[in-house]
């Protein structure tokens, strides 16, 4: 829909990134109707009103700033200009700042190259950076590696509609990050009855016990709002790697760390004692259906 009223000016600026957030957002099936609420000043791949050379001059107007990529104060330049100084110019102008992806939010994978100097824009893992105070009032965090296109569109449309977005202490919208990735996983029955997957490539079994799945303690609505409108990691038998979390990526991502055979990390907010009691009860029953194939085909 094309309207003539004032449109917020949108600027998408990249720092240290793989472009995954950019390409993830391009998958949104309603991309252009969402963008029609904004005037695109500059975008990494879509056509905008200004070139990167203009953006680098610092003169482009900006109401909504989307930041992609992790962040360093020095030595990351575009055409000889420090990206940190560019970010400052546009973050100061913007009415809303969206950190799109885990790199921009917490530092992400690229932080591991130089942990002392690379961080997210307003957070360094869970710690607030020096920029936080200045930008806190307009900051929305959208962690995810990459950002989920629907999550980003939700925030953009809430901004376009002038609707307040409720956020948590890390500035994540509660409607998106109030859930865990476990919520809506199609393997939930196996989790409830503590049936582990015997290997990769099977429909049966939960990936939390052996294969490293972090879904039960990772915030995100991946299994409520599906990826590519279709699926999710856990739905295709891949463990959740906790890619929305401040400490992502952890080590040994395909193996569950255990203590005495019990997963070392508990589902979000569950006391270990409660977990052990429930596990004991669940494991004391042998449910025939869970020892069989989920689907039987005629041979």
């Amino acid at each position: 829909m094309i309207t003539e009223s004032y449109k917020p000016k949108l600027l998408w600026l990249q720092s240290i990134t793989c472009n995954g957030n950019t390409h993830s957002f391009l998958n949104h099936p309603n991309l252009f109707s969402i963008l029609s609420h904004f005037e695109i000043m500059h975008h990494p791949v879509l056509e905008g009103a200004y070139t990167m050379d203009d953006v680098i001059k610092g003169t482009v107007a900006c109401d909504v700033l989307i930041v992609e990529g992790s962040f360093t104060e020095t030595k990351f330049l575009k055409a000889g200009v420090e990206v940190s100084s560019l970010m400052k110019i546009y973050a100061d102008k913007a009415k809303h700042i969206i950190s799109a992806g885990t790199c921009a939010t917490f530092g992400g994978i690229f932080k591991q190259k130089d942990p002392e100097n690379i961080s997210g824009f307003c957070f360094d893992l869970e710690e607030k950076t020096s920029r936080y105070v200045q930008y806190a009032s307009k900051l929305i965090s959208l962690p995810g590696c990459p950002v989920h296109p629907k999550w980003l569109s939700y925030v953009l449309l809430m901004i376009a509609n002038n609707t307040k977005i409720n956020i948590d202490n890390l500035h994540r919208p509660v409607e998106l990050y109030g859930y865990t990735v476990h919520t809506g996983c199609t393997r939930n029955e196996y989790f409830e009855w503590k049936i582990d997957a015997k290997n990769f490539g099977l429909k049966e079994g939960c990936l939390f016990y052996e294969q490293g799945c972090q879904g039960p303690y990772t915030r995100g609505s991946c299994n409520k709002i599906l990826w590519n409108d279709t699926s999710s990691k856990t739905r295709v038998g891949t463990p959740c790697f906790g890619c929305t979390e401040p400490n992502y990526p952890q080590e040994s991502l395909f193996r569950t760390k255990t203590n005495m055979g019990i997963p070392a990390k508990m589902p979000l907010g569950i006391p270990r004692r409660a977990y052990l009691i429930l596990t004991g009860v669940a494991k004391s029953f042998k449910i025939k259906r869970f020892s069989e194939k989920l689907l039987e085909y005629d041979k």
Binding site: N19, N228, V236, G237, T238
Partner: protein, 433 residues
């Protein structure tokens, strides 16, 4: 003789690069390609579990992440084989991997066509239209990545390929949905891109039949031809392919002679003034990518183009778009023949090998992608990634200019040169992983 040096920032190439053009008497005589920032994925991997590469390396690149995943899993499987464990993937796992990788190539090529080539071409020939090409690109790409996600869970940044197979165990319902998405993609190719049925398109084997191609691809070919661009952008006419896939076997092509290659002769070297490393084969530079695959595979229509236009930008652009047709056709066949009753993964999660070295090769959207992993005590001690764009954008040796640079030399303007540059489908993030 008047020399002039100009630096220009090139954007929308999956990041940016700076090109230093040297003009001599109105013609470009040299170009330096500079990339700014090294992200250090290879170093980040050191000390991590061997399989963590399946999660970390896709983050080299937002647009060819799936190729990195497959190169990483092949490197581990090759490492197991070198350590004495034969890895015979089920045809199901193999076909699903082939399918998802092909989906990624297709989305890449179509996005590049609509978001880079069409708008840049129109700007270059001063025929800017108001058409929203990006909406075509994203409609098509979101369709084909959805087909990919049915098996891989998501795109970008899936990690569904694991040593021994894939994590998914699809049903007929999944396959039907994927088929429907491929059919939709084929319909787009037929009705929007070429104005021909896929079958009729694939029957074209000579440039004398090109007039049959209508649609957006026909428009691009016509505009390039009618603006004197058909022979622009020629390079060294040397091509190389290391991956083994439906599009080509490994090999190298020099002018028209095809011969074998051995990956052991690939050398990487630091270059001054940029964080991108150069790559050579037996101390010689080669072009990689769709045109190389077409030349090494001796694809009839690519050979016909080459015969008339050499390795020009027209040939290069066409070779890339031709792969869209080949891969859509291939993907349809893969789904028709998928053996769902076979195992998805033939290896246990822990196979008991903690010391190995392996190489994984994939024909990615932009050409041959190589991963090398060295694992000791279960952790990565060394990881080496050689990306396609490194081949095409190397600075060159004392004997020969870099591949993309050679193609730009002789251009009369920066606009001409940067358009030639973009026909290589340059990827900044891959070059500076």
């Amino acid at each position: 003789m008047k020399k002039l040096q100009i630096r220009q920032l090139i954007e929308k190439i999956e990041g940016e690069a700076e090109l230093d053009f040297t003009f001599n008497d109105g013609l470009i005589e040299d170009v330096k390609i500079n990339f700014g920032f090294y992200r250090g994925i290879e170093e980040i991997l050191k000390g991590k579990d061997a399989r963590d590469a399946l999660v970390i390396t896709p983050r080299v690149c937002g647009i060819c992440n799936h190729a990195h995943l497959l190169a990483a899993v092949r490197a581990i499987e090759n490492g197991y084989e070198n350590a004495g464990l034969k890895v015979n993937l089920s045809s199901k796992a193999n076909d699903i991997r082939e399918f998802t990788l092909a989906c990624e190539l297709i989305q890449n090529h179509v996005k590049w066509f609509y978001m880079t080539i069409l708008p840049q071409l129109e700007a270059y020939i001063y025929q800017k239209s108001d058409e929203n090409y990006a909406i075509k690109a994203t409609y098509f790409a979101s369709n084909i990545t959805k087909a990919l996600a049915i098996f891989a869970g998501q795109w970008p940044h899936s990690s569904y390929a694991v040593p021994g197979g894939v994590t998914c165990d699809p049903t007929h319902l999944d396959v039907m949905q994927a088929k429907s998405l491929i059919d939709e993609s084929i319909t787009f190719f037929e009705q929007v891109m070429t104005g021909l049925s896929l079958e009729s398109y694939l029957n074209i084997d000579s440039v004398s039949d090109l007039h049959k191609i209508q649609g957006d691809l026909g428009k691009v070919l016509y505009k390039m031809g009618s603006h004197g661009m058909a022979k622009m952008g020629q390079s060294h006419d040397k091509f190389i392919v290391f991956g083994d896939c439906i599009l080509s076997k490994p090999g190298k092509s020099i002018v028209t002679t095809v011969s074998n290659v051995d990956i052991r002769y690939v050398e990487e070297a630091l270059q001054s003034g940029t964080v991108a490393k150069a790559v050579k084969y037996k101390n010689k530079l080669y072009e990689v990518g769709p045109l190389s695959r077409g030349m090494v595979a001796k694809t009839p229509i690519i050979k016909s183009f080459h015969k008339r236009y050499k390795d020009s930008l027209l040939t290069r652009v066409f070779a890339r778009m031709h792969e869209v047709a080949l891969l859509l056709d291939y993907n349809k066949k893969l789904l028709d023949n998928l053996q769902l009753d076979e195992p998805s993964c033939i290896l246990d999660s822990d196979v008991g090998f903690y010391e190995f070295e392996g190489v994984g090769v994939v024909e990615a959207a932009r050409g041959s992608l190589i991963h090398k992993t060295t694992v000791k005590c279960g952790v990565i001690t060394n990881y080496d990634i050689i990306t396609p764009t490194q081949w095409n954008l190397s600075h060159g040796t004392k004997d020969e200019q870099g591949v993309a640079i050679e193609a730009m030399i002789g251009s009369q303007s920066m606009e001409e040169a940067t358009f030639i540059f973009r026909t290589f489908d340059v990827c900044s993030v891959c070059t500076t992983q």
